[in-house]
Symmetry: C2
Subunit: 425 residues, 2 copies
Amino acid sequence: MTLTAPAPTAVAVNPARGLVCRNCGATFGLIAEHACAECFGPLEVDYDPDLMRAVTREQIEAGPQNIWRYAPLLPTGQDPAQRVSLDPGMTPLVRAQRLGDELGFTAPLWVKDDSANPTHSFKDRVVSLAATAAKGFGYTKIACASTGNLANSVAAHAARNGLPSYVFVPSDLEPGKIVQSAVYGQALIAVDGSYDEVNRLTSELAETDEFEDAAFVNQNVRPYYAEGSKTVGYEIAEQLGWRIPAQVVIPMASGSLLTKVDKAWKELVAAGIVADTPWKVFGAQSAGCDPIATAFDNGWDVVKPVKPTGIAKSLNIGNPADGPYALDAIRRTGGSVGRVGDEEIVAGIRDLARTTGVFAETAGGVTTAVLRQLVEKGLLDPAQETVVLNTGEGLKTLDPLAPVVGPTHRVEPSLRSLRQAGLIA
Amino acid sequence: MTLTAPAPTAVAVNPARGLVCRNCGATFGLIAEHACAECFGPLEVDYDPDLMRAVTREQIEAGPQNIWRYAPLLPTGQDPAQRVSLDPGMTPLVRAQRLGDELGFTAPLWVKDDSANPTHSFKDRVVSLAATAAKGFGYTKIACASTGNLANSVAAHAARNGLPSYVFVPSDLEPGKIVQSAVYGQALIAVDGSYDEVNRLTSELAETDEFEDAAFVNQNVRPYYAEGSKTVGYEIAEQLGWRIPAQVVIPMASGSLLTKVDKAWKELVAAGIVADTPWKVFGAQSAGCDPIATAFDNGWDVVKPVKPTGIAKSLNIGNPADGPYALDAIRRTGGSVGRVGDEEIVAGIRDLARTTGVFAETAGGVTTAVLRQLVEKGLLDPAQETVVLNTGEGLKTLDPLAPVVGPTHRVEPSLRSLRQAGLIA
């Protein structure tokens, strides 16, 4: 009799073993809750450290060219057949040589360009995790309140995967934004009220009988949703040849993305996938919504809510749930926080486009402008390798640019007119 | 004394050996001309068949995740350091399960989604080839006349690579379109005239002393530019596991893209990279600009120019240079041509978005609507594997959708209002 090894399973092991409260440390199973039953603190995925440490570069590199190559490090989606996804991720890491030259960088500067995702923002990463977890829990619909990127992504995920969605938006949203979500043919509910009122309404709705089978992607399945952001960190490290950059600049809305990139790198170090080199995490906010920046400047551990204003709408979360954790990561790594006003944001969009060909939405303008500010203040070292994140697409937010960019020349259709315009002698 | 093999060179061999006239067969060196000096026929790249046949799957698979993995099959760009590129390509091949189900497909249906390119259209492929060839010829600027995708791509290539560009547009272009090209900070010349007048002006300009160092991407370096479209065909075959699909539906403007996908597959077969299975090529036009469709219907070998109208502006070329060659490929393979009106185009955009989550520009609506038409007429077999091309991004052409998509419900911020709207009982 010959003993043979069992055939390897196609499905990776799920390394998640439960949820844990970030506040009181209480542990739970892998449930669809985002708040601790003991203390109402935020729940986070808890992984089996042995399973996480067993993951190898080779295992990841053998995976698909999207976020699911990191399935052995994620809390859902191990079985390809059970994914509810647009297969986002593996977006370009663009060498920003000309921007670096302008800012005096002697070390490489990179832009991680998440506008290359299927609906052109980093939200596809988190929605793929949330929708896949939702299906696993037996939910039969997905839902969200959003005014932009999240709405686009949820509706598109629903469209491709045949899992119906309900997207709630304020009814005074710009017509273009309405089209961007409505085109997917999913339920789009315009609510005559402010974004806060829309949010309150979805919270009430989640408690009704009709919506008990709905996963609100950033509410009841938030712990899984949030883990999608780790893939940005994994990809940066892999695309650098399995190295962690010395510095990273990340835009902050809830602060979640920043904490997850930092977490991803800690996991890669723990697994021995990358060397344990030091890194500094820098946060970027707009001056119109800067509660985390204010807390950082004042040395506070808590974040005081603000009423958001300004053009960087995708970052306008006045009461950022992950603010304290973002502050922890920034302080622990020796990073800093910058804030920039609307004019600087527009200048940031233009600087990035002009030097890299990457056309960012306003959030990318915030990050680029904050990068410049941090260098000028001596807080970020241009002699150290640096990555800045662009989280979304400029085509979605054309309005702030219309007054400031335009044709460089206007001519008649004749060479004489080109001569008068100075284009030819 | 020990003999050792020479170290392999990092730079692939350029398989192009010259240009050849598609009309009279006259041959030329690798020069910057697009028209035959003998007969004014169109020039095309001529490859060394032995070098093309020597290319292997393994060689390609070892390359980067962009068009340059096919450098051994392209006429420029073998040396990574000499590329002028945004590194486009390897865009997703999306399984369109739900669309296929609706149309009665029993074989797989796929969407090749080129909206995932850096500036969100397939033009990045051809501009990367043109700009790289231009640099090789010693040109110090790139230029084009365009109203949309080509303008975006040329300006973005110039921005990232520091090779200045001059983009000429009609001055009555919509403000949003102006922003999409102006943001890159390159020369953008608004011409008070029709698109035809803009084109005539750039032809005159190309003859001036000041612009003799300018490569007009789809004029003097057109033979190299056009070869960029082959990469769509290579990618489809590779993403299917090195197979050619039985049927492909391709939108037609000049007709070049269609001929190059067909050419790419012939090359892969000749190189033994894929099996020699039969394929049918189908062309898609809008009813507002259907000269190739009309020639096909009437059995003509020549294409009679039309004056374009209709919403599919990126396809509005009334005198398609590659029309006859597109007809050849369609007839040789046993394919067909479909044409659809503006209402069907909008329905096509919505069908594609609703079933796949891919938000296409009007050209993708043309392709999707033509797919439906071809199936309904029995011209395309839903029992055969089929790929449809989406060549651009819906965010660039929101206007045609605004009148027909919108919120599905409008409510007050209360559960009572949701009840009245029928969302809950």
